[in-house]
Symmetry: D2
């Protein structure tokens, strides 16, 4: 219990950065020792995130302008770095840090896809393709063994987390058809990042819900397919429909999968309960459906299942906080598991309600 | 152009009532002559709906306590009555008014379902079953001929409107499989009505999106099935998933239907364009997806189609304002058509943006 | 009743532009004949404002790139132009149109301040100072006589409208001390305009209310002081505190003024009722306080008064829709009055509730 | 560091109860050992607050129906009880617990007012007036010495917290006139409690800001006056204007006080910095104004000052989270101080942003 890891955050000025700061600060075995953010380099963290002003030891840290060449200087100073950078940029940064012996948790998409061709079709040229095989997909519930001791963790995307958690147990248990599954997801506006644009203007977000990048055009589609394919034991495709919903945080996913003969809702629920034994995934009791409000700020995912008997369809539902379980808190959960600690060590497990 | 109809609204104190008042007031051939609301009887409309205070001739009308026995007294005074009452209650009221020779537009579910057994399984005993065959389902785009001269109009439900408009043309044209369609709908909180309850508390609605009454439990399911069955020419079932979304107005529906061999998105769009020739339904151009914000307060529905080639799935999407196109404005549209007027006469066709 | 004015809107792609389009379209004596918007020139209005798609005669109009030199070409085509441009830019445009004999309603600040020095201290160099004396401040309730036949109307700012309407009658009637009045105003986010920025990001606007440009730094301060000074018959200063509030539309102002000896709330209410005789300003009855929700989308302002007996303070309160009564609808009201029509001709007088 | 206090919460099913559960759970020296809630007695906490499902040791606790007679049974089991009950009811409960030797932190108004007559004029008959003198007003920054060892703590109201923190230092330092101060406050909807009603319906709260109980009618007025009177060293009155603002959490207060001769903004800021030496109150730097979003979920209050030179007026501003700093987190802060611990021990000091 004596060791405390020195933590760096590269990309600390955005929403996932803010959430990382909050979680690292509350964690008994992590200490924030370095923050970087290109656009705000030279400012104090408290200027960019006034939410930190109540903790002067955090707020007074000065944001640095991290370049990959500077990785060497961090070698002795830090134990682990969280990278919250755009894809493409992130791989080079993570690679440089890894080369210096630092443990890296990457919140971008750069190391999530195992197949280089799929990556490059989706995101463009990969700067460090040789690292793909060393990366572990950081969904602790599904990759626990691989995470032990992992030095490069690819923290899952927000939408994929909300789709994989409810569907993987059904596929593993052979309860649903792996073909033709539909993933209908609704995300809060913070998922679009901190940079302002027309789609995130309050006056054009409030009172409006809209689908976007439907029919396979969203880049999270292959990530969902990879992990659900692993669970099913065979390649598969999904129909993925993301929506922007007028709220700040949260993702609600309702996934539709054709049930195999006579499968009951109890079987679905049991499969999930057996798959998830830590309290960070809750399988809701019969009659209760998930709500993003109940997991706001929390490490927990809430799952529920229903069967539409007239249509032989299983509804697999999941609510998470996109910035917490869907990004920063999950990244720390993966670190916890990589270090042999409890999944939930130091994490917010209660939602902030209301 | 000389005639003006005298209009009554029974149930004027709720949200659909408020929207009816707004639309009737702006309509060049309708004059609000009678308002009733049980809970607020004796108050002036302006006390219950201070949004009307800018029109004293409206605001100063006193809400009466309408009972079916009072129908006779309205016989000479009114031409048409809109009833915005709970199902079960509404049928008796509408029947009494109809018996007195008044034209009735019912916004409840009481006359929407053609099959008595389905009605009673869904809603309970029907007080005036003999009227079912006289009622016309008030979706003008699909029942134009029947609406001409109709004396009893059953104005469609909000969710059904958003599901039927995008799917009916595909089914009529035989472009999609009628079996196993999924209707995933997200509604604003006003859809739950004006009576306060835990689910509509601001603090428990903001920042939360949640599914409810899934897997066939929502009462709008048979209504959707009836109308889509008519379009398909055969009985069918749908998976219907309603959600409560943190906004006041609007419904966004994304429906999923398996395409028939090689059907293209252009074919889907064309089918809809051919089906809908008034400007009250807009089929969006390629690359644009619907947004509830764009139809706020408007009579218009916005439709869009996409095909997921990897999964042979058609996405049929629709945005409406649940209180306007999904209820009160659509009710006046149906009246317009019943009188031989243009669909859009006097209706708000521009959305209130932002 | 035969004439219809041909209307142009310069700056049609922003929020006040959108609201102008909505109001002009509904007006029986105005016809939208020309739209311009620099950033979106060449696009159809329906591409920039999909809320107009239900009215193809509007949506299909192509946005032009208006430059002052082009004013001559509009001379014969249009009767009146509404300019929704940034201050500084607007004066040159309005001047060029005026030079061609067009009537101009300017929604910018360029012609609101009568005193050139105050203008230039607040906004910078004025491009057409010689026009200041020709401009009429377009608050119809206070400048009715001057508006008759006016060719250059300076439509009031949103905050000033909400401050002047409740306070002017008290000052005119000598019921309150003109010194040291406080105007505490809360505006919806649309008041910040359509251009995205950090302050209007949904994730940083929802769940946050914040004051900004307090203590005399907001440019609407001298405008409020000018008009209240006119009402009081002497120069005065006010403490003006604007806030950004997590809603799209609306301004609520609570103003505090020291009452003169023994003034009662009834005297305040009476002064306002006597001052405002059209239904576009409602003085609420005792016991009711204004709410921005009740005037959403409406031409109406709702006023209320209270007296704090322990502190000899009058509270003068006002709710308006910042884009409607606070900008575009009020601009058309001023045009109505300039033409000798009723204030409310063609305007939305009912709020869109909820 | 060995001792852990056993904590009970009476009234655990409401919003302040939920927030207490969250804070107690995260606190290293508190252990939740008892929960009661009249309306939900017999249910598990996880049924009433599904936000707790990620912590089964919390979620599985069964809510009891606490009656004052049951206090004896708690005597040995608990060290401290937080009471989140309506005023009037609370005093009897707190008294019974106190009689059994338990430490009590009361979140109601029952023990906040020192003057019985003022209490009874405001709230009605007091059930245990003899306890008033034993109660300590739990604003740690102002009553630190009295809190040491206190057995009955009256945790401050949300509005008073936001008014007293920014104004007290100015009054103590004699920088402003104590007469005629104005407190204009805007609260999130959660401040109205969990019980649903018309004023908290999402559809009637979103897009609306409204003042209520103005001109001395809000019950928090005498509480503000008591504490500011103590700071000023003389009785005083304030004009207090509360508003309901369309957000879930947060209170922003802008208070206006007439400055004494030549007082500068730097003097105001210094007075506050000297008064508040823990990081739980942040005096913002020049040029930055408070925002409720920055303190969401946090123990911290953010203060700012401005001087309006033209009007000799000081603006004293404060943002807090009404449920956190304005209620439950502050209650635990007071307990911390009563036990000799650091103010911020175990408390959330970072805001949850965004």
């Amino acid at each position: 219990m004596t060791d405390v890891l020195k933590v760096g955050i590269v990309g600390a000025g955005g929403y996932t950065g803010a959430e990382l700061v909050r979680v690292v600060h509350a964690h008994p075995r992590l200490e924030l020792a370095y923050v970087a953010a290109r656009d705000n380099a030279g400012k104090r963290l408290g200027d960019v995130l006034p939410s930190t002003l109540g903790a002067p030891e955090i707020a007074n840290q000065v944001l640095e302008n991290f370049e990959p060449e500077a990785a060497r200087a961090l070698a002795g100073r830090l134990d682990v770095v969280f990278a919250g950078l755009p894809h493409g940029t992130s791989a080079a940064v993570c690679g440089a840090l890894l080369d210096q012996g630092l443990q890296v948790v990457d919140l971008s998409a750069d190391f999530r896809l195992k197949d280089l061709e799929t990556y490059e079709r989706t995101y463009g040229k990969h700067p460090r393709p040789e690292l793909l095989e060393r990366a572990v997909y950081g969904l602790a519930e599904l990759h626990r063994a691989e995470l032990a001791g992992a030095r490069l963790i690819a923290s899952p995307g927000c939408y994929p987390t909300s789709a994989i958690l409810p569907l993987a147990p059904l596929l593993r248990a052979g309860l649903v058809e792996p073909r033709g599954m539909i993933v209908d997801s609704k995300s809060g506006v913070s998922g679009a990042g901190r940079k302002p644009g027309p789609a995130t203007h309050f006056a054009e977000s409030a009172e409006g819900i809209r689908p976007y990048k439907v029919a396979g055009r969203h880049r999270h589609t292959p990530e969902i397919e990879q992990e659900l394919g692993l669970a099913a034991g065979a390649k598969l495709n999904v129909v993925f429909t993301p929506h922007l919903c007028p709220m700040t945080r949260g993702i609600l996913t309702v996934a539709y999968a054709r049930r195999k003969d006579g499968v009951s809702v109890e079987q679905c629920r049991e499969a999930a309960q057996n798959a998830y034994t830590t309290p960070l995934v809750t399988v809701l009791e019969e009659g209760r459906l998930p709500d993003t409000l109940w997991v706001r700020g929390s490490a927990c995912a809430q799952l529920a299942y229903e069967v539409d008997e007239n249509n032989d369809m299983v509804l697999a539902m999941c609510a998470i906080d996109n910035l917490a379980r869907g990004a920063s808190v999950q990244a720390v959960q993966a670190l916890n598991v990589s270090r042999g600690w409890n999944d939930g060590l130091g994490l917010p497990v209660l939602g902030q309600f209301p």
